[in-house]
């Protein structure tokens, strides 16, 4: 029996006490900054393999960005990725970063239903649905509950049934084949409920947007409460996003 405590000593304290202020190091790519430097904007727009960059003024849509870093390799003076991982928002437009703007990605408090803060601030049970996810976002959602990130300390957990859940976390671009199961899971979740899109594939379809095997029409009927960018989203991004939504 003495072996186990010894082993726990060897591993030491593993949880991150303050999830809001972790210093990540480059080359981790979080929120990008776009300078005012003059570049050939047409080339810049074409550089992005996912079409996340627009011109005049230059902007990057984090909902379409795979964080591959290609734009910053080709135009290092124009685009720099910071290590700011708090890049989620409840408003789709807030994910667009514009040139010359060096500010955090913000939430729109007016859009948050009062019930969400009242009911979910101290206890939130979520159901995860993967609809064409590649298993990286799924693994990161799982990692949110491990000993390092320990999301459970805030009362946030994943449940095995939508009937026990307060919301759905969707990953993947939504395959045609998963449309119906997703709808059933959503309908089975009792009100009030929240709906979260996790990862670039879920937010915009990513590279799969034009695939014939994808059908995203269900999103037109659902109110989306949270957009969490990333490919996959980092556990720190995910946990902070959920806390910002439910606690502010």
């Amino acid at each position: 029996m003495i072996k186990e405590p010894k082993l726990m000593m060897l591993n030491g304290r593993q949880y991150i006490p303050d999830l809001k202020n972790v210093k990540l190091k480059p080359p981790f790519r979080g929120r990008p900054e776009i300078s005012k430097a003059k570049v050939d904007e047409l080339v810049l727009v074409k550089t992005c393999p996912l079409g996340a960059i627009s011109s005049n003024p230059v902007s990057i849509d984090l909902g379409k960005c795979a964080f591959c870093g290609e734009c910053s390799f080709v135009f290092p003076d124009k685009i720099k990725f910071t290590q700011d991982y708090r890049i989620a928002s409840n408003k789709r437009e807030n994910l667009i970063i514009r040139e010359g703007e060096d500010s955090e990605v913000k939430f729109d408090e007016n859009l948050i239903n009062k019930d969400i803060r009242r009911v979910f601030a101290k206890s939130l049970k979520l159901r995860q649905v993967s609809a064409g996810g590649d298993n990286s976002c799924e693994v990161e959602l799982g990692a949110c509950g491990n000993a390092n990130f320990d999301m459970n300390r805030y009362g946030i957990e994943f449940t095995a049934s939508p009937r026990h859940a307060d919301g759905i976390v969707l990953t993947g671009p939504i395959t045609e084949n998963m449309q119906e199961p997703l709808r059933i899971a959503y309908d089975a979740t009792p009100e009030p409920k929240i709906f979260i899109l996790c990862g670039v594939d879920a937010i915009s379809g990513g590279l799969f947007t034009e695939s014939k095997a994808i059908d995203r029409s269900i999103l037109n009927e659902i109110k989306i409460d949270l957009f969490i960018p990333g490919n996959p989203s980092h556990p720190l991004t995910i946990i902070n996003a959920i806390l910002d939504l439910t606690r502010g």
Partner: protein, 499 residues
């Protein structure tokens, strides 16, 4: 017979089209030999005609035999099924039937595989023809497509006699995203590169390496030895990380939470190193065509030594306790056993084969430059049960660590490495194949170009395509409550299968 090596490209004209009887008898003769197994079999549509390609890996001679036959426009869309003689081809014939409507006479179950939107067989995903047994004694249990945990969707149908499973059938396809079609539609190599990263997010390095090797070979573009070694280094790190996570996940299912937590922490240490190297915990953006944006610097080398030292100490301490626990041994031993004969018949690959005494490891049998220079000596176990898979993961982690140390100690990494090249020109009218041993097993990518050098066909095979059948057989005559440990011990890919 046409033989090529791994990562080789040949002219399409050099691949002789046999008549089907000759093709049939050659395939049967080859695949009846122990050292051969099929790595890919597919039909390439050219207008209303189909050229079939089969790639058979010969483990003894370290090469790959390519055979082909053609179904012409006027031919009846019917062929004698090879599955009757060689069972491991069942899934490939099902796929060809689903996509192009070519019937295989004598195939035991020509059921859909992944329901692509342009399929010939229009069966609805809700009308899958499950195997059933009529009896008042038996009941069926259906699970999924959405599962209880945070995992991908798939439907499992059990036929049970009391608590015991008589038969399990797995229906996949829910994850189908049209990956192979997108490889042709995306004209930009960088887009294709990122697409390869998203085939299976837990095998980023494996699939992207196979992709890069396929296209570099098709463009006759040689990359440096160091780049090959850096990719192999990442491949082994991926293996360590996922195996560690799997060991932790198996501890969860045996209700051993100390093990689950510690192995979870150890996995974090490895993937955080991958993040320190390329900015992404899964290695996305690390493997690029023709070069790399993230050289393996001296600082990284030193950091990796430290990470491995600390990892190894903690891992060994934890493993010493975990693997000796009677509660763990009791739970895993003699559960979900696969015999060597079954593994061979199914055509199992990777760790799932090696734990049942079948040596299938591309790193040993068809090594690329990296594994020729620094060979691996694969782990092979005999018992084929959950415990064997649990032990195999531990031993493979040790092998990978010593392989990495060997590399770091003996190879002088230069600080600069060639930059990626997204303007590779592919040779027209060629066929290319690449095999890469991911942590699950053998990944195979094939590509064909047209007369202008544009991709006209791209074929991806994840090891899971072979291995889902092993999970089905593992469940025979075990309690249904043993399903989770069996499922986790294989940890197969849904999206890699569904593409």
């Amino acid at each position: 017979m046409l033989k090529i090596t791994n990562n080789q490209t040949i002219e399409l004209d050099k691949i002789k089209k046999l008549d089907y009887d000759k093709f049939y008898s050659s395939v049967v003769e080859l695949l009846n030999k122990k050292e051969n197994h099929c790595v890919n079999y597919f039909a390439y549509p050219i207008k209303d005609e189909f050229q079939f390609f089969i790639a058979i890996a010969d483990d003894k001679n370290h090469d790959i035999v390519i055979l082909s036959h053609q179904l012409n426009q006027d031919d009846k869309k019917e062929l004698k099924s090879l599955t009757e003689k060689i069972f491991s081809l069942h899934i490939f014939e099902r796929e060809i039937y689903e996509n192009y409507g070519i019937k295989f006479i004598g195939h035991p179950w020509l059921k859909p595989v992944r329901y692509p939107s342009n399929r010939a067989n229009k069966t609805n995903i809700n009308d899958y023809p499950f195997y059933t047994i009529k009896s008042n004694e038996l009941h069926e249990v259906g699970v999924g497509p959405i599962h209880a945990g945070i995992i991908e969707p798939g439907h499992f149908r059990f036929i049970c006699n009391g608590e015991n499973v008589l038969h399990l059938e797995i229906q996949l396809g829910w994850q189908h995203r049209g990956i192979e079609q997108l490889f042709l539609e995306k004209k930009n190599h960088l887009q294709r590169n990122i697409l390869a990263e998203n085939i299976a997010g837990d095998t980023v390095i494996g699939h992207t390496t196979a992709f890069a090797q396929t296209l570099e070979s098709l463009a006759n573009f040689n990359v440096s030895e160091q780049l090959h070694l850096e990719r192999a280094l990442a491949l082994e790190l991926e293996r360590i990380a996922i195996h560690t996570g799997d060991i932790g996940a198996l501890c969860v299912d045996a209700a051993y939470h100390l093990g689950a937590n510690v192995f979870g922490i150890l996995r974090t240490a490895i993937i955080n190193f991958i993040q320190a190297w390329c900015g992404n915990r899964f290695g996305k953006s690390l493997i690029r065509l023709g070069g790399s944006n993230f050289p393996f610097t001296k600082e990284l080398r030193n950091e990796l030594f430290e990470v491995l030292k600390s990892y190894e100490k903690k891992f060994e301490e934890m493993a010493r306790i975990t693997y000796r626990l009677t509660s763990i041994q009791n739970r895993f031993e003699l559960i979900g056993t696969i015999t060597e004969k079954q593994a061979r018949i199914i055509g199992t690959v990777g760790l799932s084969a090696r734990m049942a005494n079948v040596l299938r490891d591309v790193r040993e049998t068809h090594p690329n430059i990296a594994f020729q220079k620094y060979p691996v000596n694969p782990v092979v176990l005999k018992t084929g049960d959950v415990m064997a898979r649990f032990v195999a993961k531990k031993r493979e982690i040790r092998k990978s660590i010593s392989w990495i140390r060997d590399l770091l100690n003996n190879f002088k990494f230069k600080e600069n490495i060639e930059k990626p090249n997204y303007s590779l020109k592919l040779k027209p009218q060629h066929f290319s194949i690449s095999l890469c041993e991911g942590w699950r097993g053998e990944i195979c990518h094939c590509a064909i170009t047209d007369k202008d050098g544009a991709l006209t066909y791209y074929k991806v095979k994840d090891p899971s395509l072979h291995n889902w059948k092993v999970l089905e057989l593992s469940l025979r005559n075990v309690e249904i409550s043993d399903f989770p440990i069996n499922n986790k011990s294989y940890n197969l890919s849904y999206c890699g299968n569904d593409l």
